[in-house]
């Protein structure tokens, strides 16, 4: 009896590793701390009312942001651990198995639980404000998306202490990730967590597509939309068509693992390569999902801080749409070395290279937006300027990879690792940080401290080059990715050492960001104008933070850079006064159901991981019931009276 329990426990909990015990203890401590603080300050009700049940896009955005930063930290710690293991040859800081788990969770978390929520944070916070809408098209669905993401992230993270983490890489190729070679529940965690967050992402894609297509303020034609909104539209289109493929790939692999199917097994006709094919059918578009919104942010930031209109707006739009569509025609470049034949490789190599053309156009247009402008070096602009050379190199190495015969030499080497960190960090992370600095005042009414921000910037940026430039070299020297250790004699030691130093510098940069946020919350400059940067787009016409209904009156848009136009008119002494009377505003009700629904999804996922089918079935029923209950719910919104609105606006001093 006792023996059985012990046996169970040792399979259920990950035992025997001091680092994991440490993690267990710290997780318990953190949970305990949170519970204590909430109880002590009697904040449970507040938490439920203001956050867990909210359907307000701005709050959902903030929650995405917090989650993304936490995941950046988690993924970053993973990175630091890996780099420490690789700092010298034959290190025994991490065991092979542990290293494998760490790079798998690092890649998975960084892409799906850091980059994705970070772009969702920016989308949520900004898009409705930029297009003059009161919320997204489907606020309730939006809350579901967030909570699905959140609990999926929890599901994946919990694997570290319960059951064991996935260890087959973020790409999770079978047969290695199949049941034959990987019995453990780790892979199940991967599959179910991604599946759940994938559903949420798909819903977000639809939501923002509809929002942008149909909820723009009168007068805002498509060609008057801010470029960030355009980039989100393009990213949404990619999400809509790419994520279903991931859903299928994961489902089939899960069927292989749990139901004994033979899609990707190596016997009874299965073909593991089909998984690789499906994975990248999603995987390649995915990387543009995470980089296009960053492009959008850079467009906003560059125009604002150069105090100039965006150069070549039409080209900017055309290139984003082109990237979105072409991104579906390139996926084979991730497996040129599979031997699918020269015809296949040629087609997909050329399609891949073509993406460099619209991307290049964007780079030139950014440069010429600055040209003959007046560049103000605030933090967002600093990141935007650092992005250009960084991404240009990363993109150029991407083009080098896309040359199929050359890729036979680069594939799966550190050259590839360097390429994608350069575009993911130099593109996505820099973009999201620029966006965070840019819109922080809009979110919280606080401007982040410049001086600490510069320290963070320089550490992170220099650290980046120190960390990743040597990796190109390592790739050329024949070092392959996913090696937990290497021996002397290959000449890799020096470059790995330098690279690790760079990683530490990036870590310090991140610490500065944390300090900066803390410091600014306590002592930071408050933004009372609502327009600290002299912005060009509509979100800056609102007070910071914006009232929950966003716009007391829906603005009429007369041109591109809507807010700038109004300010210009005012500067010329033509006071554009809002004289329309307030009207009652229709607002969606808060609801606890998205949260509950997602908890049920979590329970479902967790029980599927351990194949506890009865519990999974119960959770599934719960999910169905909450969907049915929603279907019967008719009073899903309420009306704000003119009185209330006037009251709020007066408090902001805006009547």
């Amino acid at each position: 009896m006792l023996h059985n329990a012990e046996n169970f426990a040792s399979h259920f909990f990950v035992l025997g590793n001091p680092m994991i015990y440490g993690a267990d203890v710290s997780i318990l401590l953190v949970i305990f701390g949170i519970v204590f603080v909430l109880t002590y300050y009697k904040k449970w009700g507040w938490l439920w009312r203001e956050w867990l049940t909210t359907v307000d896009h701005k709050k959902i955005g903030i929650m995405y942001l917090i989650a993304a930063l936490l995941m950046l930290f988690r993924g970053g710690v993973d990175a630091i651990l890996m780099r420490t293991q690789l700092i010298m040859p034959n290190m025994s800081f991490l065991k092979a198995q542990h290293y494998n788990e760490i790079f798998t969770t690092h890649g998975t978390i960084m892409i799906l639980f850091m980059a994705m929520p970070f772009i969702f944070a920016m989308m949520n916070i900004v898009v409705p404000l930029q297009i003059g809408a009161r919320d997204v098209a489907f606020p309730y669905l939006n809350a579901i998306s967030f909570w699905l993401f959140f609990f999926a992230a929890m599901l994946l993270n919990i694997s570290f202490v319960i059951g064991g983490s996935p260890d087959a890489g973020w790409t999770s190729y079978p047969p290695l990730a199949g049941i034959t070679f990987d019995k453990g529940p780790g892979e199940n965690f991967y599959l179910l967590a991604l599946q759940i967050t994938g559903i949420g992402s798909m819903a977000t894609g639809i939501n923002f597509f509809v929002t942008i297509m149909k909820m723009r303020a009168p007068g805002m034609t498509l060609m008057r939309m801010p470029l960030f909104t355009w980039s989100v539209l393009a990213a949404s289109i990619i999400i809509i068509f790419a994520f279903p493929v991931l859903t299928v790939a994961l489902t089939l692999l899960l069927l292989d693992r749990l139901a004994g199917a033979h899609f990707f097994t190596i016997f009874d006709g299965g073909n593991p390569m089909m998984y690789v094919n499906l994975f990248w059918m999603w995987g390649h578009p995915e990387v543009y999902i995470v980089v296009l919104p960053a492009f959008g942010i850079f467009s906003e930031v560059v125009a604002t801080f150069s105090r100039k209109r965006t150069f070549g707006y039409a080209s900017m739009v055309a290139s984003m749409i082109a990237i979105a569509v072409i991104s579906f025609f390139t996926w084979v470049h991730h497996f040129f070395t599979m031997g699918a034949g020269p015809g296949v490789n040629s087609f997909f190599a050329v399609a891949t290279m073509i993406i460099a053309i619209p991307t290049g156009v964007k780079v030139f247009n950014w440069l010429f937006t600055m040209y003959q402008g007046r560049i103000k070096m605030h933090l967002p602009m600093l990141w935007a300027i650092a992005f250009i050379p960084n991404f240009a190199i990363g993109g150029a190495t991407g083009v080098m990879l896309s040359v199929a015969p050359a890729d036979y030499q680069y594939h799966n080497s550190y050259f590839l690792i360097a390429h994608f960190h350069q575009v993911l960090i130099g593109g996505t992370v820099f973009g999201m940080l620029a966006g965070m600095y840019y819109w922080w005042p809009k979110m919280f009414g606080i401007i982040l401290n410049e001086r600490l921000g510069r320290w963070a910037f320089w550490f992170f940026n220099i650290g980046f080059y120190v960390c990743f430039l040597p990796q190109y070299w390592l790739g050329w020297m024949g070092m392959t990715r996913r090696m937990y250790t290497y021996s002397t004699g290959m000449g890799w030691s020096l470059w790995n050492f330098i690279s690790t130093i760079g990683a530490y510098m990036m870590g310090i940069g991140f610490v500065f960001i944390v300090i900066e946020v803390g410091y600014s919350i306590l002592y930071g400059e408050r933004d009372l104008t609502g327009d600290p940067w002299d912005g060009r787009t509509l979100e800056w016409s609102l007070p910071s933070p914006a009232p929950h209904y966003n716009f007391a009156r829906i603005p009429e848009i007369a041109g591109r850079d809507a807010w700038w136009t109004i300010k210009e008119a005012r500067r010329k002494g033509d006071p554009v006064v809002e004289s329309k009377p307030f009207k009652p505003i229709h607002m969606p009700n808060d609801s606890g159901r998205p949260f509950v629904l997602s908890v049920l999804f979590f329970v479902f996922g967790f029980s599927m991981v351990f194949t506890w089918y009865p519990l999974a079935f119960v959770a599934f029923l719960g999910i169905l019931i909450s969907l049915i209950l929603r279907s019967f719910e008719y009073h899903t919104d309420h009306t704000l009276s003119v009185e209330e609105i006037r009251h709020t606006e007066e408090a902001y001093g805006r009547v």
């Binding site: 070395t337 031997g339 156009v361 007046r374 070096m377 150029a396 040359v403 250790t485």
Partner: protein
């Protein structure tokens, strides 16, 4: 404006120069020190790409530097400020077309070389066939023509094209000998072909390039290229001294272990074909039967 152009040009030439020199430095930069025609083609196209992408990327950086320096918002900056200037057809045509031209050139070369690399690098000399199987976590090399086998090392004759036929009896991996040429996946149930050739005798580092689990980091091996005579000598030595590769031995090899290099005097006939088609492996079976994997091709 003139001065800028001159500076750009100077930098460009400097860069092109470095990229050409780059292969020269560092013996250990394997992919730029190829020893065979395949690696050579790949190196050439890599260098070409580096130059082509530098043609735009370097000027972009210089431009960025100049613009940021010139148009900073400082007091008394007398550079022009035109906040409404946002369209210029000619400029836009220029930067749509430059990348188009560069990509056009690259695409042409890419297609050409992609097709070239699936053919034997040298049509004059009779190729040698080596069957490669990636196992957990080791490499098995079988010489169907010589009826010998090795583990975790492989000897080849120099100046003779080698037809590596690749499969896996474990999670997929990738067979990569950087100095001979690029890699190709080894996949269970499939037999893929990779042409390589060494022009000079030597010992070349090879490794598995696609992650295959715990022992993956230890899956490296040496490829030893020798002149034909020495190679034949080595074959005879193995044939006469090494133990045979029986099915039991193979079964032991296939277990999840990390082992030292080994040699075997016979190779179990049909073992490779069996590995490929064992579990109802579907692909390339038609090639096996059609004789595309020609076990006889390598006999002397």
């Amino acid at each position: 404006m003139k001065r800028n152009q001159a500076r750009t040009f100077a930098l460009l030439t400097a860069l092109a120069g470095t990229s050409l020199l780059l292969p020269g430095c560092g013996e250990q930069v394997l992919v730029f020190n190829p020893v065979g025609p395949v690696g050579m083609i790949e190196k050439q196209i890599m260098v070409l790409t580096i130059i082509m992408v530098s043609i735009v990327v370097i000027p972009v950086m210089i431009l960025l530097w100049i613009i940021v320096a010139r148009y900073r918002d400082k007091p008394n900056n007398r550079a022009p400020y035109r906040p409404e200037w946002s369209e210029n057809r000619i400029l836009e045509i220029i930067w749509w077309s430059i990348p188009i031209i560069i990509i056009g050139i690259l695409a042409t070369f890419t297609v050409q070389k992609t097709f070239a690399l699936v053919r034997p690098p040298n049509k004059v000399v009779n190729p040698l066939t080596i069957q490669v199987t990636s196992l957990d976590w080791k490499w098995l090399f079988q010489y169907p023509g010589q009826k010998i086998a090795t583990v975790n090392y492989c000897e080849i004759p120099s100046n003779r094209p080698i037809e590596f036929v690749l499969t896996s009896n474990a999670p997929m991996n990738s067979f990569w000998v950087p100095q001979l040429g690029g890699q190709e996946y080894t996949m269970p149930g499939m037999a893929m072909k990779l042409w390589l050739e060494a022009d000079k005798p030597g010992v070349y580092y090879g490794s598995g390039a696609n992650f295959s689990g715990e022992g993956f980091a230890h899956m490296h091996f040496n490829v030893i290229a020798r002149p034909a005579g020495e190679f034949n000598h080595w074959v005879q030595k193995i044939q006469s001294t090494a133990p045979p590769l029986s099915l039991q031995r193979y079964a032991i090899l296939a277990r999840r272990t990390i082992v030292q290099p080994m040699s075997f005097s016979t190779n179990q006939p049909g073992l490779f074909e069996k590995i490929v088609s064992q579990d109802g492996g579907m692909y390339m079976r038609r090639d096996l039967t059609r004789g595309k994997i020609n076990s006889q091709a390598g006999t002397d």
